[in-house]
């Protein structure tokens, strides 16, 4: 057992504590970036000039009319950029574009003394456009072969041989929607320039280091001239991993040019129309099962709808490919991926980061095929779980597959699934107009950034002379409770009460070169770094204590703020006193901590390796009720057993599980991104660009009964205090809602009815599924909506589209750098 995962007695980790800012949250005292505006004298306000076309060229821009608006101070255009006119890291996202790539693309920004002045100024800027034909849907892009970036390919075994030995072969198609993050706090940045020309930007960002880098390259400054701070975010969910950079750069540019603080806050409409979302996908697949329903082969092509620029689409797609197996062993696999380039917002990271999309293809496929195989979906899923000794299609051994079974059995038992399914059958037999169903689905989710280099973190821990402790780390707080966990880690490592530890906001001048707080890795990585820094300090204090107590250093113990010898009921010294003594002995009382995840390797170009430290597991059972008149439904009960290792902070972890589940259910059932696909002048416009048209789950979607428990005996070796990551995996527990809706809709038809269900499964989509089940009873032709998935039974199946020879492979810049370093080393 590594010492990293070793948990001491009376540890502060493992205590169920409220969020460290809870008292500030509930009283309105917690500050978010835009709350700082009133505390910053002389702020200017920024407002975008948004293009009305999905694709167009800017041929002329007249800014003078804006200056005629009272209160307008400055119009920012491409000519003002001293450095690189690009908001991304791939140099495909001009900050001030001449080519408009989506409806709402900002072509200029106006700074005003008031927001109203800036708004009126933006309206006064005159822009001439020449409009071009635009691609709006993923199908249009596929037809036009409009792809961008790599076309990753993952293969194991011989998929044709696997299909040939299969008893049952099915092929299908499935297109499903993306999702808007809808963090309650929209994007916001506030930038100042000091007397030295140093930029200080406060930003609602999950990735302060990259925000810093983008500001620096836009302004033509070295990184040490830019500091980025994030107090906290009002939600992130991946939406603030890449998207804040350009906005912060605009604010910083404005501050540099005017010498005044500049605030840029997107209102909800701007946020919805300008910033990226979860990728919708199109999938084609062929699948083979043996006579027992065991998966034999899977051949799939996934097309991610990337929007106008590459952004994070390549790693999102890679993770989708790496998760198409979910919890199931498939001997022969071939999966191709590609990224459609469409005239929409640049789709980006969103909780799960492609994993949910890959897994949805598999779970949809199983849900559709189970009736065709004549198998109970619960049995079909159970029969295909990984077992010890098997590995994923990308070659990573699946460690602890017995935990999937343990969680599955746990849910079946505590959820009384057998009894309830019998009750549901009886209920359905006696009700014509309303039907119920209960579905159970598993989650297996890989933890670590696919890209090995990102799996590192830093921390800075200060112990002051009075014994109080201040910690800094590279992770950002967006509600996920990272800071709470880091306080607990520090208190545990130092053996002091939580009240002695305080946490300072995330800043790039405290911890440099940080990775995004993303990939669920925040606690694993930063926890490792905080623990490392604390251990350095503790080691130095141990020497002081050993001398003071007259015991061997190996026998010194730090518990609850007192330091004593092992097994020694005698002399002890208080933490504060020891710290004071150490200061006078000229012992360094602060330390920089560092952590990198060991044991990872990944070859992006071949899509092979062991990119993940471990897998997080979970199982959910969901019961729904569907109204056959309308397709409206309610979630009656949800039972979840989820694997968080040995929890660092149970209240936080349960909050993540519940919140992730409901957010996933929102994606799959309710949240309906609609883009104008017509040929009207509004083509490409986001039709659901407000909270009134894009509906999030509210109280009415909450499960009536919601039982969540943490998997027991789940200590994870090699991870901080035996814990596991929790941010993303629970989102995918919501597949159980979708599958329950499918089965409830099928219950309106004859026994064994197979039902296709659109995603999101809105009441309307469920209604059409009910109608198609009823049509099977009446032996009528299936009523299917245009654009809906098709399913073909038997034969060799319909082969998914295959890439051209020589299609570009995934080749992240960092891996190229690594390769050249290795080869340079070889030369030396």
């Amino acid at each position: 057992m590594s010492t990293l995962s070793d948990r001491p007695d009376r540890a502060v980790v493992g205590e169920a504590l409220p969020h460290e800012s809870a008292a500030l949250h509930v009283t309105g005292a917690a500050l978010y970036t835009d709350d700082l505006v009133g505390r910053t004298a002389g702020c200017l306000h920024a407002y975008p000039v948004q293009a009305p076309y999905a694709r167009a060229t800017v041929t002329a821009m007249r800014v003078e009319p804006a200056y005629a608006v009272p209160g307008v101070v400055r119009v920012l255009t491409a000519a003002d950029v001293p450095g690189v006119n690009d908001a991304g890291v791939k140099h495909d996202e001009p900050l001030f574009p001449t080519e408009v790539m989506f409806v709402g693309h900002a072509v200029a920004w106006v700074l005003g003394e008031t927001l109203e002045a800036a708004r009126l100024g933006a309206a006064a800027v005159q822009v001439d456009y020449v409009e071009h034909p635009a691609l709006v849907t993923v199908r249009e892009a596929i037809a036009a072969e409009a792809f961008q970036g790599a076309r990753p390919h993952m293969e194991r075994g011989d998929v044709e041989a696997g299909l040939a030995r299969s008893t049952h072969v099915f092929s299908g198609e499935f297109e499903f929607s993306g999702q808007e993050h809808f963090y309650l706090e929209t994007h916001c940045a506030l930038a100042l320039v000091d007397e030295n020309g140093q930029v200080f930007a406060q930003s609602s960002t999950q990735h302060p280091s990259e925000t810093q880098e983008i500001i620096a390259h836009v302004l033509g400054l070295p990184s040490h001239a830019v500091t980025v701070q994030c107090l906290r975010m009002g939600g992130g969910f991946g939406g603030k991993e890449m998207q804040p950079h350009g906005l912060a750069a605009i604010a910083a540019l404005g501050a540099t040019l005017t010498g005044r603080p500049v605030r840029l806050r997107l209102n909800r409409t701007q946020d919805l129309t300008m910033t990226g979302k979860r990728h919708g996908f199109h999938a084609q697949w062929r699948v083979g099962f043996d006579s027992d329903g065991r998966l034999q082969a899977l051949d799939a092509t996934l097309t991610a709808d990337g929007g106008w620029s590459l952004d994070l689409s390549e790693p999102v797609l890679a993770r989708a490919l790496c998760h198409i197996d979910n919890a199931y062993w498939v001997p022969d696999v071939r999966v191709n991926g590609r990224i459609a380039k469409t005239n929409k917002t640049s789709q980006t990271a969103f909780r799960g980061f492609g994993g949910p999309q890959g897994m949805l293809v598999m779970e949809d496929l199983l849900g559709r095929c189970a009736p065709l195989l004549g198998l109970d979906p619960v049995e079909l899923r159970r029969r295909n779980f990984y077992v010890e000794g098997q590995s994923t299609p990308y070659g990573q051994p699946v460690r602890h597959p017995e935990r999937i079974v343990a969680a599955w059995e746990g849910v079946l038992t505590t959820g009384e699934v057998g009894r309830r399914r019998a009750e549901i059958a009886a209920f359905n037999a006696s009700h014509d107009d309303v039907k119920r169903a209960l579905a159970v689905t598993p989650v297996k989710f890989g933890i670590s950034f696919n890209l090995t280099a990102f799996n590192q973190a830093g921390a800075l821990v200060h112990v002051y002379k009075d014994g109080s402790v201040l910690i800094n780390h590279g992770g950002t707080e967006m509600g996920q409770g990272l800071h709470t966990k880091m306080l607990q880690v520090a208190a545990t490592t130092l053996g002091i009460p939580l009240s002695r530890v305080r946490l300072a906001p995330t800043r790039t001048d405290k911890v440099p070169n940080t990775s995004a707080t993303a990939a669920s890795s925040g606690a694993d990585l930063n926890g490792g770094a905080v623990k490392n820094a604390c251990e350095q300090i503790k080691e130095r204090l141990t020497a002081v204590a050993a001398g003071r107590l007259g015991v061997h250093p190996n026998d010194v113990r730090f518990v609850d703020g007192r330091v004593r010898g092992l097994g020694d009921a005698g002399e002890s010294v208080g933490w504060d006193e020891l710290v004071g003594q150490a200061y006078f002995q000229r012992v360094q009382l602060w330390a920089a901590g560092f952590y990198r995840t060991e044991g990872l390797h990944w070859d992006s170009s071949r899509m092979q390796g062991s990119p993940f430290k471990y897998f997080a597991y979970g199982v959910a059972a969901t019961e729904v009720e569907v109204d056959g008149f309308t397709g409206a439904y309610a979630t009656r009960r949800v039972d979840i057993v989820h694997d968080v290792g040995e929890s660092l902070s149970p209240l936080v972890d349960i909050g993540q599980i519940e919140g992730g589940f409901v957010q996933g259910a929102g994606w799959l059932t309710l949240e309906d991104l609609r883009w104008d696909e017509s040929d009207r002048p509004s083509r490409g416009r986001l039709a659901t660009q407000a909270a009134s048209t894009y509906k999030l789950p509210s109280f009415s979607e909450m499960p009536e009964e919601f039982n969540v428990s943490l998997l027991e005996h789940a200590h994870e070796d090699g991870v901080v205090y035996g814990s596991k990551a929790v941010g993303e995996p629970p989102l995918m527990l919501a597949f159980s809602v979708r599958e329950a809706l499918r089965e409830a809709a099928a219950a309106f038809g004859p026994a064994g009815a197979a039902v296709d269900l659109a995603s999101p499964a809105t009441p309307e989509a469920v209604y059409w599924a009910v109608e198609s089940a009823r049509a099977q009873a009446a032996d009528e032709p299936l009523a299917r909506r245009a654009g809906h998935a098709h399913l073909v039974v038997g034969g060799k199946g319909v082969e998914p589209e295959q890439p051209e020879p020589g299609a570009p492979v995934l080749e992240p810049e960092s891996e190229r750098a690594l390769d050249s370093a290795v080869s340079a080393g070889a030369r030396r």
Binding site: G28, M233, G659, D672, A690, S692, K695, F699, S700, E764
Partner: protein, 512 residues
């Protein structure tokens, strides 16, 4: 980390005097409104005054992050008392709060002295990112202080357990009505801990200053005049004042709860040179239940109408919980819903089924217009310049079968794709009268005349209803949009009638 145990809310300091400049008493201190344009929301003014607890999440009254408490006259009309009422601060003009008392999350408690609502939210994990939290706290506090909250316990507990969306699912053991939070969105928690916090609340202590404040009258409305270059605001003191203002400013925008205009201000940059607040005009706030009709004042909020009708008009009783959210119903009025004339407003289908008339008033006098004749086109009505909606009048007796069916993606706080109001009389097994109002299937709310004809004089049986449902599917001219397809809308019209029949048939069986 501050202590998370609750403290008793302290007494707000004395209310602002209304003698001088316009102002709001916020958490006991006066916030000046001099020169604040009518399009400036209460939220913006609060935030500019350092009270940043209330947030902008959506700017259209959907998310509730801006929720604050206002001291309003008792919802049920009880004289001399106050109801702490939660509203969306992002929608109402700041000027409309002149002379009023507001409490924000900061005023309920501090990190050192949490309010009981704040304490429950904090210790149960009710906040994650915390951004929506101050708004949730205010909405929850309004329900915490609702008079009679725990009086009606154990009333509704012996239902058949699949009655659609049981009442008890929306109420806690402490009487907490979850609909109080229907206008608040949280993206982090999944709501369970927030519900647990709400259901764990006890009764306010005797020394709770906000509880005590309920026993005194709410601040009187002020005949506000806030002049501003970007748009002036005036509150009409009474009908005479209102008609005077309208004569002087024929193009004035009339707002009551501002739940519609506020959205236009925030999302469509609507600005108006002159805005008149009519929400406290006494002549528009009457509610009379007579022998031949029920007359509802146009400027009563939907929450007030709901409380004062107290089930007297069952069709409206079904409508209210489905109309937007509690936060919106605390501002929105029937007059506003009819005044904007939207084809997807929720009250018209119900009022059409009830054969309501609109009482239009001007300086010259009043006239009654049957609602069925009121709408003339998309957001067009017969209302003339200078005319206001004073009331709606619902004739009595009411048909015994009444139902309001709303088709939407979400049960709480959504806009209808289709809405259907039914008022049907069945006598001896025969339909003697059928009135059906429809929303969302034409440019205006409409009556389903052909369906009514297909039912009247015929037996209330499944075969007849099936035939009539086929007729109903063809009513109106539904469109495809982001809310629903035309095909689904049409299907829902037929389904609504079948569902109504199914429900009444079940009820008759149960009754027999």
């Amino acid at each position: 980390m501050a202590s998370l145990s609750p403290a008793t809310p302290a007494a707000p300091t004395a209310p602002a005097t209304t003698t001088g400049a316009p102002g709001i008493t916020v958490n006991g201190r006066t916030v000046d409104l001099t020169g604040v344009p009518a399009w400036t929301s209460a939220l913006d003014v609060l935030r500019e005054n350092g009270l940043t607890g209330a947030k902008e999440g959506c700017a259209e009254g959907e998310c509730g992050a801006c929720s604050v408490l206002v001291a309003r006259p008792a919802t049920d009309g009880a004289a001399g008392t106050t109801t702490w009422t939660a509203i969306n601060a992002c929608l109402i003009p700041a000027a409309s709060l002149d002379g009023q008392e507001v409490v924000t999350a900061e005023g309920l408690g501090t990190p050192e002295h949490l309010h009981p609502v704040q304490s429950e939210m904090a210790v149960r994990g009710g906040s994650q990112c915390g951004y929506c939290t101050p708004g949730f706290v205010c909405s929850m506090a309004a329900e915490y202080y609702r008079p009679g909250r725990s009086d009606a316990l154990d009333d509704d507990h012996d239902h058949d357990d699949h009655d659609e969306h049981d009442h008890e699912h929306d109420h806690g053991p402490n009487g907490f009505d979850l609909h109080a939070l229907s206008g608040n969105l949280c993206r982090c928690t999944g709501y369970r801990p927030i519900r647990d916090a709400a259901y764990a609340l006890g009764e306010p202590g005797h020394d709770d200053a906000l509880a005590q404040r309920r026993d005194r009258p709410a601040p009187e409305p002020v005949a506000t005049r806030v002049a501003a270059a970007g748009g002036s605001y005036a509150r009409a003191a009474d009908a005479a004042d209102l008609f005077g203002l309208l004569a002087e400013h024929p193009d004035a925008v009339l707002v009551a709860g501002s739940t519609d205009w506020g959205v236009d201000v925030n999302l469509k940059a609507a600005r108006a040179p002159f805005v008149v607040g009519i929400d406290r005009v006494p002549e528009l706030r009457t509610l009379e239940i007579g022998d031949s009709s029920v007359e509802i004042g146009a400027a009563l909020t939907l929450s007030e109408v709901e409380a004062r009708l107290s089930g007297r008009v069952p069709l409206l009783g079904q409508l209210f919980p489905q109309f937007a959210s509690r936060l919106i119903r605390n501002g929105a009025t029937i007059g506003g819903n009819l005044g904007t004339g939207s084809p997807i407003g929720d009250t018209p289908p119900a009022l059409l089924a009830l054969e309501a008339a609109v009482v239009l008033a001007s300086a010259e006098g009043e006239r009654d217009v049957p609602l069925v004749d009121y709408f003339t086109g998309y957001r067009q009505t017969v209302r003339r310049p200078g005319e206001i909606i004073r009331a709606v009048r619902i004739p009595l007796p009411l048909s015994p079968i009444a139902a309001f069916h709303k088709i939407a993606k979400r049960r709480f706080d959504d806009i209808s794709s289709v809405a259907v109001g039914f008022a049907v009389t069945v006598d001896g097994g025969t339909v003697t009268k059928a009135r059906i109002g429809l929303g969302g299937v034409a440019a205006t709310p409409i009556r389903a005349f052909e369906t009514e004809a297909a039912l009247e004089g015929r037996a209330w049986t499944k075969p007849v209803v099936r035939e009539a449902a086929a007729v109903m599917r063809r009513e109106g001219t539904p469109m495809d949009d982001h809310r629903a397809s035309a095909a689904y809308r049409s299907a829902m019209l037929g389904s609504a009638l079948l569902k109504l029949h199914s429900a009444t048939a079940t009820r008759q069986e149960v009754g027999a």
